[in-house]
């Protein structure tokens, strides 16, 4: 089962490697991982998607909390949450490409005679759907951030 965890950790050299190391060391999966400093520059916020049953997720949460650099962990997928992902794709520039991008809710961030770079934002499944509308011939390259998540209630992940 897919789970989305949000982790607040010290914005320090080495902190991320401890988190990533923990996953490989204990045999947990990372489907996606995204990290950036927060409005408090001493902290970074990390959103990771992983796969596991209740017992595995509990262990992951506890093991993450055990890391000295980790300040807080929540399992966003334990209740309602909002997720979003940014995707940029490179396409061959045909005459109907621009129209199609606009129909799918994307925006063009670069174009020349041969290629187009288009940006899409939405849930992972919406991004999958966007990708499925192009054939392999025209879809040249894809880059995705992985999921960013926030809980859908008044509670916030702060210290």
């Amino acid at each position: 089962m897919k789970r989305v965890l949000a982790v607040l950790m010290e914005n320090q050299a080495g902190a991320l490697s401890r988190v990533v190391g923990l996953f490989s060391q204990r045999g947990y999966n990372i489907e996606s991982l995204i990290v950036a400093p927060t409005e408090d520059p001493t902290l970074s916020r990390l959103t990771m998607t992983t796969i596991g049953d209740e017992k595995v997720i509990q262990q992951i949460t506890k093991q993450l909390n055990k890391l000295i650099d980790v300040v807080k962990v929540i399992d966003l997928s334990a209740s309602d949450y909002s997720e979003s992902e940014l995707m940029i794709i490179k396409l061959s520039n045909h005459k109907d490409t621009i129209k199609k991008i606009e129909e799918l809710g994307g925006s063009i961030i670069y174009q020349d005679e041969t290629i187009l770079n288009a940006e899409f934002i939405g849930t992972s499944s919406a991004m999958d759907k966007v990708l499925s509308t192009w054939d392999d011939k025209n879809l040249l390259e894809v880059v995705r951030t992985g999921i960013l998540g926030l809980s859908s209630n008044a509670k916030t992940l702060t210290i």
Binding site: M9, E10, A13, G14, S17, R18, G21, Q25, K55, Q58, Q59, K62, Q63, N65, K66, I68, D69, V70, V71, K72, I159
Partner: protein
């Protein structure tokens, strides 16, 4: 002292003094020269020069286990740092507080593949509780303060402080001040157990008819032996200890049913399997205890006290988890029992005790083997441990290496006090015993310290015999020599049709007596059962000398009981032909 201008190296030494460190184990090298110069120019912290960095960490670890104080190690960069890794992993698996201060190449050389450069933070990451790469000399006091705090609190563990050489250079000075308080926002170990859970636990304890208390290394690390002993006696419950927990409850007490697990006693394993309630304290249900987790003590309600929340329900689902230190939580249980004036119906436990005593009578260990001449004429390894136990009146500090001799020591030397049994239980590090004994002897100079080892393990850190001469350490090394890697051989005998693949030495063993003597110590060879007790006496009479007893034992002896893999705790081999199932 707090006002003077000091170098980074001096700041490190002053910080260690602030932490009341009196002894450091280490080995100097290029990157740590500034630190060693600062060490030279002060008196408060003494240094023990080992012969290999692995020995330094094991010695500091032994010191920590025997005292409860953190062990401190200095190593240089590169190979000095990597040689410390096995020691760190050993301390990590057994949750002992050690602080490794590794030197690093100069800051501007980091990442350039310079001479003796290793990414120590990266290499050690999976086997430390935490680590620090120091960036500025001024950070040294705060980092040391934090490192000692992290190493010694909560679930203890090893911490690495990696310091680039330029940071300890005497040419740069700054004002030294040591922080009084430490506050790490992301690290607040819980001490007290949740009161509701404590109440629930007490009710469950009183309801049970077939209870057992299963305690581990956490009770020793957490200095909770007194509380454990009080609770066990209050309840009149049987108590078993893990390999790491031996000595937490007096080994000669009638309520003690012996060690449990892979080579635990028949009665301890049977009691666990058939119990209706298990109170686990500072133990972690590891695979050497539970055998198959899905067949583990199916009728038992489980209460688990542990300072590490991640240990709870990790392997075995627990009914009443309690996060907190062993000492405080056990006190809370005792207080709750006493406060509520609960009636403890000791009579209701009688059938359970009868059952346990029957198991013991049926297949319990024979603690008087040493009185009988061995059937094949060759000394039995069990007899060596029993002879040692008698000679030291059960009051020695015993370190061990890893393998059959370790299990025989755990089974036959009864530990009545905590911190007397020092072995590598989690990682199972051969080579641990001798350097660990060095640390123990330095921590307790007047006490008897014996290292039970084998001819395989002892060769893994034998260079430390030289350290023993330098510091005049009168260790007693009991080498149970079965001319083979005994535990490997046992498994090959039992599961690989006796094909002894690379577990014997084909006559290549050294002359241990000559070897010991070349290191400046006394060697004794024992080959006959008739000489065992007499030689043991003679050995321990030499109170000011290191004596290496090379005792030849029956190479075909196996350790029993032994749990059968893939089955439950009641499925044991009792000897070469007898098993409890089928």
């Amino acid at each position: 002292m707090n006002k003077q201008e000091v170098s980074g190296g001096e700041a490190l030494m002053l910080s260690l003094q602030e932490e009341a460190v009196d002894l450091v184990f280490g080995y100097p090298g290029g990157a740590s020269l500034h630190i060693y110069d600062a060490l030279f120019q002060q008196q408060a912290v003494q240094h023990v020069l080992v012969r290999h960095e692995q020995g330094a960490v094991h010695a500091a670890d032994g010191y920590a286990r025997a005292t409860g104080k953190p062990g401190v190690i200095f190593v240089t960069s590169g190979p000095g740092a990597t040689n410390a890794i096995t020691g760190l992993a050993t301390a990590f698996m057994d949750s002992t507080p050690v602080v490794v201060i590794s030197s690093q190449v100069k800051s501007h050389l980091i990442g350039t593949d310079s001479f003796q450069e290793t990414d120590m933070i990266g290499v050690s990451r999976p086997v430390v509780k935490h680590s620090y790469l120091v960036k500025k000399p001024e950070e040294i006091p705060k980092v040391v303060k934090e490192a000692f705090h992290v190493a010694t609190t909560g679930r203890p563990g090893p911490v690495v402080i990696d310091i680039p050489k330029d940071l300890t250079d005497a040419s740069y000075n700054f004002k030294f001040s040591y922080p009084k308080e430490i506050d790490i926002r992301s690290y607040k170990p819980v001490d007290e157990g949740h009161s509701g859970q404590i109440k629930k636990a007490v009710k469950a304890l009183l309801r049970s008819k077939r209870p057992i208390i299963y305690s581990g290394g956490g009770v020793i690390q957490g200095n909770a032996s007194e509380e454990l002993t009080k609770l066990v006696r209050l309840l009149n419950f049987p108590v078993t200890n893990t390999l790491m927990g031996l000595g937490a409850y007096p080994g000669t007490d009638p309520l003690f049913v012996g060690m449990l697990g892979m080579h635990g006693t028949y009665e301890a394993n049977m009691a666990m399997h058939n119990s209706d309630l298990i109170l686990a304290v500072g133990a972690r249900f590891d695979d050497r205890i539970t055998n198959s987790p899905d067949l583990f003590a199916l009728d038992a309600k489980k209460i688990h006290i542990d300072v590490d929340p991640a240990s709870l329900s990790k392997i075995i689902a627990v009914d009443i988890p309690i996060v907190g230190s062993a000492k405080t939580c056990l006190s809370q249980l005792i207080e709750e029992l006493e406060k509520e004036k609960y009636e403890i119906d000791k009579d209701s436990l009688e059938p359970w005790w009868d059952q346990i005593n029957n198991w013991k009578k049926e297949h319990g260990l024979d603690h008087n083997l040493v009185d009988k001449a061995p059937p094949k004429g060759k000394i039995l390894p069990q007899q060596v441990v029993q002879s040692l136990y008698r000679e030291t009146k059960g009051d020695a500090f015993i370190t061990s290496d890893v393998g059959q001799h370790q299990m025989f020591a755990a089974q036959y030397y009864h530990f009545d006090k905590p911190r007397r049994w020092i072995n590598s239980g989690g990682l199972g590090t051969m080579g641990f015993g001798l350097p660990a004994a060095i640390g123990v002897q330095l921590a307790h100079p007047g006490s008897v310290v014996a290292c039970i080892t084998g001819e395989g393990s002892i060769q893994m850190c034998i260079q430390e015999l030289s350290t023993c001469l330098q510091y005049g350490l009168p260790l007693k090394i009991i080498n149970i020599n079965n001319q083979s890697l005994g535990m490997v051989k046992q498994w090959q005998d039992m599961q690989y049709g006796g094909r002894l693949s690379e577990s014997t030495y084909q006559g290549s063993l050294p002359d241990f007596i000559a070897l010991t003597e070349s290191f400046g110590h006394v060697g004794m060879k024992v080959e006959k059962y008739e000489d065992l007790q007499k030689s043991m006496e003679e050995c321990f009479k030499m109170t000011d000398k290191l004596v290496f007893m090379d005792i030849y034992v029956d190479p075909d002896e196996h350790v029993y009981p032994m749990l059968e893999a893939g089955k439950s705790m009641q499925d044991m081999w009792l000897d070469k032909d007898k098993k409890t199932w089928e």
